[in-house]
C-alpha cells in the first residue's frame, strides 16, 4: 500500500457523530443550494444521438478550459464543482497543459471510434478460408507479415496507456479517445495473430530491429514525442502498408481484414496529426524538440524494413517466388515504400512540420538505396 486515506474511520469521534446524525435523519442538502446554473442540452442531430459536442456549453466546454489546468488535481470531470483546494486529494496528474494532449477534432474521433467498433471473432469471414486455395509460399509469407504486424500493433496500446493515467481528468475526451485506440490496436494484434494461426502455418520470426523501434516509441520522454513517433510516423507507415492490401492479400478474407483495420488506423493517424498541429499552433517553442526527436525516430523506424519483412512483402506483392513473381513483387514493394515516405512528408506538412522533407534522413536513405539498386 502506498497511500493510506487521511482518516482512519475506526478511531474517529467526528465520524461517530456523523453516523449518529445519519441515524437521526439529519441530512445535509447544502450542496443542492449552491449547484450550477441550469443548462439546456439538445441533440443537434437526433439520428446521431447525444454527441460530446452537444454538451460543449459553459463550464463543460473545452474552449472554456485554460491552457494550464491548476485547480483540478483529482478525477473531477470538466465542469464539476470542485472541492475546496485543501480538501481535494492530489491524484498527481502530470499532463496538465491542454497542448500536452489535445488535438483538434478529438471529440469527433471519439464518437466515430465508438460507432465503428468491430469484432475480429465474428466480422472476419473465417469460414471462407476454406474456399480459397492459397499456395504454401503465399501462406507462409502472409504469416511472416502477420507476425510482424501482431508484434508492432501492441505498442499502440502500451504507449497511450502509459500516458493516459497521467492526464488531467479535464481532458477526459482525450483519455477516452486513447482508450478506443487501445482496444482498436488490441483488436489489430488479435486479427493478425488469429489469421497466422488459422490456416495451417503459424507465427514466424520476430524482428530485432523492429523491436528497437518499438522501444524507441515506448521510451519517448513526453507524451507528444511518443504520439508523433507512434501516430504520425509509425502508424502512418503501417496505414500505407494496409492500403496496399489489394496487392498483398492472398484472398478476400485478408482483404476484409485490411479494410477493417484500415479505418481504425486512419483515425489514429488523424488524431496524431491533429495533436501535432494543435501543439505547433499553440506551443511553437517545442518545434526544435520535436524535430530533434523525429531525426532519431525516423532512423529507428527503418528497423521495420528488415529482410524478413521485405522478402515476405515481395512474395505477397508478386504472388509467388518465381523470378517473374519476384521482379513484380519488387516493383510493388518499391512503389509502396516510396509512397510510405511521400505520404509521411505530406502528413508532416499538414501538421505544421514542412521542414521534415528537407531535414529527414529518410529521403537520403531512399536515394542511397535507389542509387545502389539502379547501379547494378
Amino acid at each position: 500500500m502506498s497511500y493510506y486515506g487521511s482518516t482512519d474511520y475506526s478511531y474517529n469521534s467526528d465520524f461517530n457523530l456523523r453516523i449518529r446524525d445519519i441515524k437521526k435523519g439529519n441530512l445535509d442538502f447544502s450542496w443542492l443550494d449552491d449547484a450550477r446554473d441550469k443548462v439546456e442540452i439538445r441533440r443537434s442531430d437526433p439520428r446521431r444521438g447525444l454527441m460530446l459536442a452537444d454538451c460543449e456549453v459553459g463550464p463543460y466546454a473545452i474552449e472554456n478550459t485554460p491552457e494550464i489546468v491548476r485547480e483540478n488535481r483529482g478525477l473531477a470531470p470538466r465542469g464539476a464543482i470542485l472541492a475546496a483546494g485543501s480538501d481535494q486529494p492530489d491524484l498527481g496528474p502530470t499532463l496538465n497543459r491542454k497542448s500536452d494532449v489535445w488535438g483538434y477534432r478529438v471529440q469527433r474521433y471519439w464518437e466515430e471510434a465508438m460507432s465503428r467498433q468491430w469484432n475480429v471473432t465474428t466480422d472476419v469471414p473465417w469460414q471462407d478460408l476454406d474456399k480459397y486455395q492459397i499456395p504454401d509460399e503465399l501462406e507462409i509469407a502472409f504469416c511472416q507479415l502477420c507476425t510482424l504486424l501482431s508484434e508492432v500493433e501492441m505498442i499502440a496500446t502500451d504507449l497511450p496507456a502509459k500516458w493516459s493515467h497521467h492526464m488531467n481528468s479535464y481532458f477526459q475526451d482525450v483519455k477516452a479517445f486513447i482508450a478506443t485506440q487501445c482496444i482498436d490496436e488490441a483488436r489489430h494484434a488479435e486479427v493478425f495473430r488469429k489469421r497466422a494461426l488459422a490456416n495451417g502455418v503459424g507465427l514466424l520470426r520476430a524482428s530485432v530491429r523492429g523491436e528497437h523501434a518499438l522501444k524507441g516509441i515506448l521510451e519517448a520522454d513526453s507524451y507528444s514525442e511518443g504520439s508523433v513517433f507512434l501516430h504520425v510516423l509509425g502508424e502512418g507507415f503501417i496505414l500505407t502498408l494496409f492500403r496496399s492490401s489489394e496487392f498483398i492479400s492472398p484472398s478476400p478474407v485478408e482483404q476484409r481484414m485490411f479494410q477493417l483495420v484500415m479505418q481504425d488506423e486512419a483515425r489514429h493517424v488523424s488524431y496524431g496529426l491533429q495533436h501535432l498541429k494543435y501543439l505547433m499552433d499553440n506551443c511553437e517553442e517545442i518545434r526544435p524538440q520535436i524535430n530533434g526527436f523525429l531525426d532519431e525516430a525516423e532512423r529507428h523506424l527503418t528497423g521495420l524494413f528488415n529482410p524478413d519483412q521485405l522478402e515476405s512483402m515481395i512474395v505477397l506483392g508478386g504472388k509467388g517466388t518465381s523470378p517473374d513473381c519476384i521482379r513484380r513483387g519488387i516493383e510493388v514493394v518499391g512503389a509502396f515504400q516510396g509512397k510510405q515516405i511521400t505520404e509521411y512528408f505530406h502528413r508532416a506538412e499538414r501538421a505544421g512540420l514542412p521542414e521534415r522533407r528537407e531535414r529527414s534522413p529518410l529521403l537520403e536513405l531512399q536515394q542511397r538505396m535507389l542509387a545502389m539498386v539502379g547501379g547494378g
Binding site: 450542496w31 444521438g49 494461426l197 520470426r205 520522454d221 538505396m369
Partner: protein, 366 residues
C-alpha cells in the same frame, strides 16, 4: 529522445547492402524454412466465430505460459520464433499469477460482443423531457458525477499497469484494453447524462477522492485489482442498480442496464484473478485482505459522506422533502452492498474479520 539503440542500424552498411541485394532479386527466403509448430485453428462453433479459446493450442496457447516468464521481454508475439538480440522492453510484471485470470480471454470476447454506443443506445429524448423534479434531478446528477469519477479511476487502473506487463500475457493485456474502453464509455455516458439533465454536473468531494486515490495508488497490481475490481466495481454496480430502480426515466434505466453489464465483467475478472493468484501463491491472502480492509476504510468515508448519503436518500425518496423517510432504505441498500461484497471477498479468498464496511453497516443498524 530517451532511447538510442546500441547499434545504429540506419548507417549499418551490411544492412543496407542486404536490403539492396533483396531489391535486386537476391532473396534468401530463410524465414520460409523455419521450424515452427504448424496449426490450423478454426471456429469450434461457427456461429461464435474464431474465438481466443479456439487458438489456445500448443506453444501459441495461454496454457503454455510459464508462471515465471524468463525467455521473452520483447513484444514478439507468444509462439513466434525469437531471434538473438531482441531488446528488453522494460516489462516488470513477468509472473502469470500476478495478473492472470482464467476468464480473461472469454471476458475480452464478451466485451467486444456486448459493445454499445452511448450516444445512440440511450434514449436521450427521455432526458429532454425528464418527468421528474429539479431536486431529484440534482440528486441523480450528483450520483452520475461520482460515477464519472469512479469510471475514470476504473480506466486509469489498467492504464497504469498494462504497459508494464509482459507481452506473453497477451490476452490479459487485451482484456485490460477492453476495460479501459468500457470505463471510457461509462465515463462518457455518466457525464453526458449529468449535463443533459439540465442541472449539470454535481460536486467533487474529498471522500470520493480519498477512495479513488487509495485504489489508484495501490502499490502492486494485485492490490490495485482487488480494490478496483472487487470493491469499486461492486459499489458502482450497486449504485447503478439503485439508479435504475429509482428513476422512472428510460434513459436512466438504459444506462443502469448497460453499466451493470460492463462493471460486472470487471467484477468477474477481479474474483477470477484473486482465485488464480491465491491458488499459486496462497501466502499472499493476508496482505491482500489487509489492503482491501484499508481501501474499505476509505469506502466507509465515502458512504458516510453527507453529500453522498443525502444524494442517495434523495434519489431513493424521489424528493428532498421525503428524503428523511428513505433513510432505512438507504441503510438497507448499504447492507445489501456490504453483504454481496463480503460474499465476493470470500469467493475470491480474501475474506476478513476486520472489514471496516461490515463494522460500518453494523454500526448503522445498532
Amino acid at each position: 529522445m530517451a532511447y538510442y539503440a546500441r547499434d545504429d542500424f540506419f548507417n549499418d552498411p551490411e544492412i543496407l547492402e542486404r536490403s539492396v541485394a533483396i531489391l535486386k532479386g537476391h532473396t534468401s527466403f530463410d524465414w520460409m524454412k523455419l521450424e515452427i509448430e504448424k496449426v490450423k485453428c478454426r471456429p469450434s462453433d461457427p456461429r461464435r466465430g474464431l474465438t481466443f479459446q479456439d487458438t489456445n493450442v500448443g506453444s501459441y496457447g495461454w496454457d503454455a505460459i510459464p508462471e515465471k516468464i524468463r525467455h521473452n521481454y520483447s513484444m514478439a508475439p507468444r509462439g513466434a520464433v525469437l531471434p538473438q538480440g531482441l531488446p528488453h522492453l522494460g516489462y516488470d510484471i513477468n509472473r502469470k499469477s500476478e495478473v492472470w485470470s482464467e476468464n480473461a480471454p472469454a471476458l475480452y470476447e464478451e466485451s467486444k460482443s456486448r459493445h454499445w454506443i452511448p450516444s445512440r443506445r440511450v434514449p436521450w429524448e427521455a432526458v429532454e423531457v425528464l418527468g421528474h423534479g429539479d431536486d431529484f434531478e440534482r440528486g441523480l446528477a450528483q450520483l452520475y458525477t461520482d460515477l464519472t469519477m469512479m469510471a475514470t479511476a476504473l480506466g486509469d487502473v489498467p492504464s497504469k499497469w498494462v504497459w508494464r506487463i509482459n507481452q506473453e500475457l497477451l490476452e490479459l493485456k487485451m482484456w485490460q484494453c477492453a476495460q479501459m474502453f468500457d470505463a471510457a464509455q461509462l465515463g462518457d455516458v455518466f457525464r453526458k447524462r449529468a449535463i443533459a439533465g439540465g442541472t449539470g454536473l454535481g460536486r467533487d468531494h474529498a471522500a470520493l477522492g480519498q477512495l479513488l486515490k487509495c485504489v489508484l495508488d495501490s502499490g502492486t497490481y494485485p492490490c490495485a485489482s482487488v480494490s478496483a475490481h472487487i470493491l469499486l466495481c461492486g459499489l458502482m454496480q450497486t449504485m447503478l442498480r439503485h439508479i435504475g430502480s429509482s428513476s422512472a426515466n428510460a434513459a436512466d434505466q438504459t444506462i443502469a442496464c448497460f453499466g451493470v453489464q460492463d462493471v460486472s465483467r470487471s467484477l468477474a475478472y477481479g474474483i477470477g484473478h484473486m482465485k488464480n493468484l491465491l491458488t499459486v501463491r496462497p501466502h499472499e491472502a493476508t496482505s491482500l485482505a489487509d489492503h482491501l480492509d484499508e481501501v474499505e476504510n476509505a469506502a466507509v468515508g465515502l458512504m458516510a459522506e453527507p453529500i453522498f448519503f443525502s444524494a442517495l436518500a434523495l434519489v431513493t425518496a424521489g424528493s428532498r422533502e421525503k428524503a428523511e423517510q428513505a433513510l432505512p432504505r438507504v441503510c438497507d441498500l448499504y447492507r445489501q452492498f456490504v453483504s454481496e461484497h463480503q460474499q465476493r471477498r470470500a469467493a475470491a479468498g480474501v475474506a476478513s474479520d476486520a472489514s471496516p464496511l461490515t463494522g460500518f453497516v453494523r454500526e448503522l443498524g445498532a
